[in-house]
Amino acid sequence: MSHCHCVNCRKAHAAAFSTNLEIHPRQLTFLRGKDSLRSYRTDSGSHTAFCTTCGSTLVCWGDGDPDPTYVCAATLDTEFHGKPEFHIFVSGRVPWHEIRDQLPRFERNSDDPI
């Protein structure tokens, strides 16, 4: 689970940053509403899917993945006590919300330290 500050996440979520829980596609089953989802692909090859009724962005994945590999943690109904492990794409951070925790920060991806 990690916080992403990239511009695509910021815009898709219209929020300071997104928080994504990594999953294996096999772990995810839609109980209902899969047909109500619409996906959007950015030029950089990231995909997000949102509910066409309310606009909630629920899942995301990359070009190489046919199915979602991340669930947007904020959409969980079950109380979730996992903790984010790091921040990625901090180069895209908004000036109006500072990162004040001690988690590792990566300029871009987590395999690409500052």
Partner: protein, 139 residues
């Protein structure tokens, strides 16, 4: 700084919806309510108070889809990329809220506060110095 006065431009992820804000805006409200969390799919939403007369849509205004939450609060989002742009309670209100994450012009540092902190997610602690209200800003 309590408010920003420069012209601010913003857009959704796919750029279908574009807007411009002139004049005084602010403050910034970080809302941790369940509806904001869900609509944005983010730990919290950040909305900038904007007088309606200071907001101009450059494109896409007619395309925005409105969803009304149980509380009566309405939010407008782009049908193509899902980005939430606007939030308002009362259609007659002179102020509308703009999702700050959609700004293209850097907003800079701005006075902010946190509301509905009692429904905050357990995995994100608020560590900035801004005031925290258990429910709305009057609480």
């Amino acid at each position: 700084m309590n408010a920003s006065e420069k012209t601010l431009e913003g857009s959704c992820l796919c750029q279908k919806v574009r807007y411009r804000i002139t004049g005084k805006v602010g403050p910034l409200t970080h809302c941790h309510c369940t509806h904001c969390r869900k609509t944005h799919g983010a730990a919290f939403a950040s909305y900038l108070d904007v007088p309606r007369e200071n907001l101009t849509f450059v494109s896409g205004e007619k395309d925005l889809v409105t969803y009304q939450a149980e509380s009566g609060t309405k939010r407008g989002f782009c049908p193509d990329c899902g980005a939430v742009i606007t939030c308002w309670g009362d259609d007659e209100s002179k102020v509308i809220e703009i999702a700050a994450g959609t700004l293209d012009t850097p907003l800079g540092k701005i006075e902010a506060h946190h509301i509905w902190v009692r429904s905050r997610v357990p995995w994100y602690e608020i560590r900035d110095g801004f005031s925290q209200h258990p429910e709305g800003s009057q609480s």
